[in-house]
Amino acid sequence: MSTPLLACEDLRVRFQTHAGTVDAVNGVGFEIHAGDCVGIVGESGSGKTQTAMALVGLLADNAVASGSVRFRQEEILNAPAERLNRIRGRRVSMVFQDPMASLTPFMRIGAQLCEVLRQHSGMTREEAKARALEVLDIVQIPEPRRRFGMYPPELSGGQRQRVMIAQALLCEPDLLIADEPTTALDLTIQAQILDFFRSLKKRTTIVIITHDLGVVAGLCDRVLVMQAGCIVERGTIEAIFNASKHPYTRTLLAALPRQDTRPQEPPQGLSSETGAGSDALLRVDDLKVHFPTRVQDGLRSRTVPLRAVDGVSFRVAEGETVGIVGESGCGKSTLSRAVLQLIGSTGGRIVWQGEDLSGLSRKAMNERRRDLSVVFQDPLSSLNPRMTIGSIIAEPLRRFHREMSRKDRDAAVLNALRDVGLDREHRDRYPHEFSGGQCQRVSIARAMILKPRLLICDEPVSSLDVSTRRQTIELLKDLQEKHGVSIIFISHDLSVVRIVCDRVLVMYLGHFVEIADRNALFESPSHPYTQALISAIPVPDLAAQRQAERIILSGELPSPTAPPSGCVFRTRCPIATDLCGEQEPEFRTLDNGARVACHHA
C-alpha cells in the first residue's frame, strides 16, 4: 500500500484543569490515504474533536499532546506554528461546526477568503478575488459577487457553511477535515450540504467528524468509532453497519431510530380526525402570532408584521400525543408559547377544556397552568442554577398545594424523582452537577408533579446525545402511559417524532402543510415538503441510503415578514405551478386519512 497521507500513532491529549488532569484522547492511531473518505464517530466527550484539533495543532493552551502525527511523512505534532502554517489552510484545511461563530463576523466574506490565498499562494489582489469568486461558485452560493462584499451575519446558516467550505477549498488542499459540518443546520439544508460533500469526494481526501451515524452512512468509505478517548471499532462502512462487533457501536446504531422499520407498538388507533369533537382537550382555531418588526425603508423606518404563526388550527384529544415538526423559523416554538399564553396571540382562539384562554386575566390563567405543563429544549439553562433539584421539583406543589405538609411534599418529590429514574440523594444537589440527560429528567419530574392534563415538550431531546435521547423518550412514553397525559411534542427531528407521536402536524413558515396519522405520514407522505423532510433524514442504514431517491430542496426559508403569495411553500416546491402563486391551498382529506394543504398532492 502507498504511504499514507496522514498517519497518527498513539496520539494522546491531556488537559490541565483546576480540578486536575483530564485525559481526552488515550492513544489513538489511524492512517488516512489519499482519496479516502473517513468518518470519526462518537458522542460528546468521546475525544473525536480533540483528536482532530491535535492533528492540526489547534488544541487549547492547557492541552498537552503526545504521540505522533505525520503528514506526508513529516512529523507535525507539536510542531512550531511557522511550520504548521505551511500546511494549515493550504495542504490541510478545516470546516467547523457552527458557521455563525466560526466566521469572523466583522470581516467581509471576500476579505476572509482572499487572505488565505494571499497568505499561501502569493496571488495579487485581483487574482485572489477571481479565485475566491470561482470557489464561491463551486460551492453553489447564489450571486457570489454580491456575497463577496457581505458580512457573515447577513447570510443564512446554510450559506455561511458554504462559505466555510469554500474557504477550505481555496488552495485545493490534500486533506479536508470537517468537524460536525452539518450539526448546526436544518434538515433540508443539511441534505444540501451532505450532497455537496459527496461531490467533493472526487476532489480531495475527507475526514468527517460527527455524532450522527446517519451522516456517515451516505458519505464515508471507512469509519472509526470513538468512545472515552479511544477508537473502539474501525472498519469499512459495510462492516460497521452490518456486522459491528463492539457493543458500543451497536448501542449507537440501536439508539438511532431506523426510518425503514415500523415502530413496535401500533399507534393508539387514532386517525387524523381525532379530537374533532367538541370534547377535545385543547382546540386551537385560526391562531395567529405576529411580531411587529421595524424595517428600514430609505430614511424612514416602518413596522411590518413578522408572521411567526399565521392561521393554524388543530385539536388535541385526551391522552393523545401530537407532534409538531418543522425546521427552525417555521413558528413551532412560537406556537407552543402562544398555547401556554406565555406570549400573546394576534388572532384566533385557544380553547382549553371548553374555555377560551386568550380572554383570561393573568391570575385566572395562572390557575389553569396547573394542568398545562412544559419541558424546554435546553435542560440546564431552563433550571434555576441557585435552586436544588428537590426545591425545583417541589415548586409547583408550593404554588398549587399550599395546604400540603412538608412531609407530604418531600414524599411527593421523592416519588417524582423515582418516577424519572433519579436517586433520593440527588434531591439536595444543584443542576450544574448533572448531565444534560439527568437535567432533562428533572425538568420532566417538575413538569409532571402536578399530574397535568397536557404536557408541551419543546425540542426536549435535541440537545442530548443519541443514547440519552432514546432513554428520555422512553421515560416520556412511560409517564404518559401511567398518568394518561396528552403531549404536544415539538421537534425538528422526524425520526424522534416517529417514535413518540400518534399524529403529526408538519409546519412550514407559520402554516401547517400536512396533518396526518403517524404511519400515514411516514409511509406515504403527501405534501411535497413532508416528502422532502422525510427523504432528508440521514438514515443509519446503508441499504436505505443507497436505494432512497433523495429529494433535495433548493433554496432556503423565505422571510416571514414577506411570505410568498398563495402557497407559502411554492418558492421551494418541486411541483409548484402558477396556481400555487395565485391561490392559497385549502386543507383536503386524502384516502389514507391525511389532511394536506396542497393543490397538487
Partner: protein, 307 residues
C-alpha cells in the same frame, strides 16, 4: 449611518434643554447667593447688584430671559468676575483643559492598549502579573497623591521639570500634569483591553483564522483586535468629555488656568451663569462623543450597523 447620526443630533436638542432646565433650578435651590461673600455689602447696594444682574425678577421670568439669551448664543455675564462674561471665561479656560485632557487621553490610550494587549498575549505569566499589578495600583492611587509625588521627584528633587504654571502650554510645563492625568487612564484602559482581548481570543473564528495558516500577528491584527477595541471605545466617550472639561485637582496642584478650576470656583461663588455655561459645554461634549463612539462601534462591528 448618516441618517442615524442626524436623528441622534436632533434628539440632542431636547436633551440639552432638559439638562439646562434642571441645572438652572437646581443651583437656585442651593442656599446662598452670588454676592454673599462680598464683605460689608450695603443692603441697598446688594439690591442694586441684584437688579443689575436681573436677579430681582421672579425665578420663572429669569429662566425665560436666560433661555432667550441662550437662543441668541449669549451665555450671559459672570456674576463673580466683574465685567467678564461667561463666554470669555470659557474660551480662555477650555483650550487649556482640552489640550491637557486630550494629550493625557492619547497617552493613556496608547500605553493602556499596549499594556493590555501584551498582558493578554502573555496571559498568566510574570509579564501579565506585573502589568496587571501596576495597573491595579494605578487605579487605586488617586491623582491628588500621584501629582504631588511627581512634582516632588521630577520638579524639586531632580529639578528636570517646572513645578507649576501654564506658560502657554510649553512642552516642559504640560509633561507632569499630563502624566498625572494619564496614569489612571493607562491603568483603566489596560485592564479593559486585557479582558476583552482574552474574550475575543477565545472566539471560534480565531481558531478558524489559525486553521487558515495565518501567522499569529495577522490573526491578532485582523481577527482579534477589532472586537477587543469595542469596550475601550465606549469607555473613551465619557472619559474624553471628562478630561477635556478639566480636572480641578490637577489644575489646582499645577496652577493651571483651566476650566475645571473655574467650574468649582463658580459653584462655590454661586456664579449661576458660569456654572450653567460649563454644564452646557460638558453636556454637549458628552452627547457628541457618545455619538462618535456609537458611530465607531458601527464601523467596528457591522452587526451594530444593521440595527
Amino acid at each position: 449611518m448618516l441618517s442615524y447620526a442626524l436623528r441622534r443630533l436632533l434628539v440632542a436638542v431636547p436633551t440639552l434643554f432638559v439638562i439646562v432646565t434642571v441645572s438652572f433650578f437646581l443651583i437656585r435651590v442651593a442656599p446662598g447667593g452670588p454676592f454673599d461673600l462680598i464683605p460689608d455689602l450695603d443692603p441697598a447696594a446688594a439690591e442694586n447688584l441684584r437688579k443689575a444682574y436681573d436677579l430681582d425678577k421672579p425665578l420663572v421670568q429669569q429662566y425665560g430671559n436666560y433661555l432667550l439669551r441662550l437662543a441668541n448664543g449669549d451665555l450671559g455675564p459672570s456674576l463673580a468676575y466683574r465685567d467678564r462674561n461667561v463666554a470669555e471665561l470659557i474660551s480662555e479656560g477650555l483650550p487649556v483643559s482640552a489640550q491637557l485632557g486630550l494629550t493625557a487621553i492619547a497617552v493613556g490610550l496608547f500605553f493602556g492598549m499596549l499594556c493590555g494587549i501584551v498582558a493578554a498575549l502573555r496571559k498568566n505569566t510574570a509579564v501579565d502579573f506585573t502589568i496587571m499589578a501596576i495597573a491595579m495600583t494605578g487605579v487605586a492611587i488617586p491623582t491628588f497623591v500621584t501629582a504631588p509625588l511627581l512634582t516632588l521627584f521630577f520638579g524639586l528633587y531632580l529639578g528636570w521639570l517646572p513645578l507649576s504654571g501654564w506658560n502657554n502650554g510649553q512642552f516642559a510645563h504640560i509633561v507632569l500634569p499630563v502624566v498625572a492625568l494619564a496614569l489612571p487612564t493607562i491603568a483603566g484602559i489596560a485592564r479593559i483591553t486585557r479582558g476583552s482581548m482574552l474574550e475575543s481570543l477565545n472566539a471560534d473564528y480565531v481558531r478558524t483564522a489559525r486553521a487558515k495558516g495565518l501567522p499569529e500577528w495577522k490573526v491578532i491584527a485582523r481577527h482579534v483586535l477589532r472586537p477587543a477595541c469595542m469596550p475601550v471605545v465606549s469607555y473613551l466617550g465619557p472619559a474624553i468629555a471628562g478630561a477635556m472639561t478639566g480636572s480641578v485637582v490637577i489644575e489646582t496642584i499645577f496652577g493651571l488656568p483651566g476650566i475645571g478650576r473655574a467650574f468649582v470656583e463658580g459653584a462655590l461663588n454661586r456664579d449661576y451663569s458660569l456654572i450653567l455655561g460649563i454644564v452646557i459645554i460638558y453636556a454637549t461634549l458628552i452627547i457628541l462623543l457618545n455619538l462618535l463612539a456609537d458611530v465607531i462601534y458601527g464601523y467596528l462591528d457591522p452587526r451594530v450597523r444593521r440595527k
